[in-house]
């Protein structure tokens, strides 16, 4: 019981993920600024922003459905935190695991996007509604390639459990190299999931102000922001667990260092792509995902299936 509470609240629950998420935001913003030849924010900026938002008043639009409006940020936060329980971080063991947790994790990571949609829709503001529709459209575009390219390593490992996959790749040292294409695709999908440039279409501020979050303020917005930060960490952990499953049998200290290194690597790639690309338009994004990314994800699956036959696993 106590351990469960500890897991829920401290590790890998809300406190660990919160701190990691905030650090991820800082690293992302600092890198983004440095790459643009700016100084960037100090380390406590994400915390200051968070504390400021928390201490502010929540404004619920009169037209909005207050219950849904208030519930959505909580859903977003809880589902992302829950998702982290099934991902092995620096060892081959996740907190909980069962055969099929891979699907559950992906499903849990889809819920935040759904809450953005519902939250935006129930705000009843025009900008929010357009943002909501856009985030849902975007979901359909990136979710399929994401699922396909995450299934490929699972096919190779012949299991639906993330922990089992980690074990498999620890035994077969260099097999993760076969999935590098999938790694690239999953990063693209992750950009779409986190709604970052070039896929920040649902919150394109020059078009629809704040998109989904136009009407959100105070604690509710803080919760949404926190859930996005945590989603960054969880998403990056998932990608690193699936595609970079090496060094998982090291001592915990080295393992943690390696894990942090992997996360930093993924976050820097995300910031880099934020820096060097312009925002896509909705139709371009959908076209890009269906016509280029999905076939590539399919190719990755094909590679894994063929390898499976060749290597006779």
């Amino acid at each position: 019981m106590l351990i469960s509470i500890f897991n829920l609240l401290v590790f890998p629950g809300i406190i660990f993920l919160g701190v990691a998420g905030m650090s991820a935001e800082f690293i992302d913003r600092k890198l983004y600024a440095r790459m643009q030849n700016r100084t960037g924010p100090p380390w406590f900026q994400p915390w200051a922003d968070f504390i400021k938002l928390v201490s502010k008043e929540d404004v619920v639009p009169t037209e909005a459905n207050p219950r849904m409006f208030r519930a959505m940020p909580i859903f977003a936060l809880t589902s992302t935190i829950t998702a982290s329980f099934y991902i092995p971080l620096w060892s081959t063991h996740a907190l909980y695991s069962f055969n099929g947790d891979l699907i559950v994790t992906i499903y849990l990571l889809t819920i935040p996007t759904l809450t953005y949609f519902l939250g935006g829709w129930y705000s009843t503001s025009l900008y929010s509604k357009i943002g909501a529709i856009r985030s849902l459209t975007q979901l359909f575009a990136y979710e399929v390639p994401l699922l396909m390219c995450i299934l490929a390593p699972a096919l190779l490992a012949n299991t639906w459990s993330l922990s089992e996959m980690a074990k498999f790749y620890s035994h077969h040292h260099w097999y993760w190299m076969f999935n590098l294409l999938g790694f690239a695709i999953s990063l693209i999908a992750l950009l779409g999931k986190l709604e970052k440039v070039p896929f920040d279409i649902p919150e394109a501020e020059t078009e629809i102000v704040g998109g989904t979050f136009t009407e959100y303020s105070g604690r509710l917005l803080a919760m949404f922001k926190l859930s996005i930060n945590i989603e960054t960490i969880v998403g990056a952990s998932l990608v690193s667990a699936v595609y970079l499953p090496f060094g998982l049998q090291l001592t915990p200290a080295l393992g943690i260092l390696l894990y942090v290194g992997k996360l930093l690597f993924i976050i820097s790639i995300l910031s880099l792509s934020r820096t060097i690309f312009a925002r896509f338009r909705m139709d371009q994004m959908v076209e890009f995902c269906w016509k280029i990314v999905s076939p590539l994800a399919f190719l990755q699956m094909l590679i894994c299936l063929i390898l499976k036959g060749v290597l006779a696993i």
Binding site: M35, N37, R38, T39, G40, L272, I276, F277, Q284
Partner: protein, 135 residues
């Protein structure tokens, strides 16, 4: 992708800025640390106006030409004049400096004039004391 059909570009190269962006990581940032590091204005900057009462002959040309009625020249004694500036109204065009035939007015490099109390922007240059006493 209509650009391909139209032949809009010579080359398709996503991430063209990659090299410069990565170079920037190791360059000194271009941000100026303004309030901590004061910036220096160029030599002929048109900042706050300074007034030399001993040179003024009270022709009031500056008062007449000022586009925003920010100057008032008041006679305070025999051939002694003081200038009342409303820096909140001043647009720092330095027309008064050009209009003054005796060069009693000059632009300074001072530009940090933001205050919370608007009345502090009303500056009087007194005739008997040479320096600006209002500060």
């Amino acid at each position: 992708m209509s650009d391909l059909k139209r032949g809009a570009c010579d080359m398709i190269r996503p991430g063209k800025m990659l090299v410069q962006v990565l170079q920037s990581l190791f360059k000194k940032s271009a941000t100026s640390q303004y309030p901590f590091k004061k910036s220096e204005m160029p030599a002929h900057y048109r900042g706050k106006i300074n007034f030399h009462p001993e040179l003024c002959i009270g022709c009031k040309m500056c008062e007449r030409d000022c586009p925003s009625n920010a100057i008032k020249i008041v006679k305070v004694g025999d051939k002694k004049f003081e200038a009342q500036f409303d820096l909140a109204k001043c647009i720092y065009c330095a027309q008064c400096v050009d209009s003054c035939i005796k060069k009693a007015l000059e632009s300074t490099k001072e530009f940090e004039l933001a205050v919370l109390d608007k009345n502090k922007l009303k500056v009087t240059f007194c005739a008997d004391v040479k320096k600006d006493t209002d500060k």
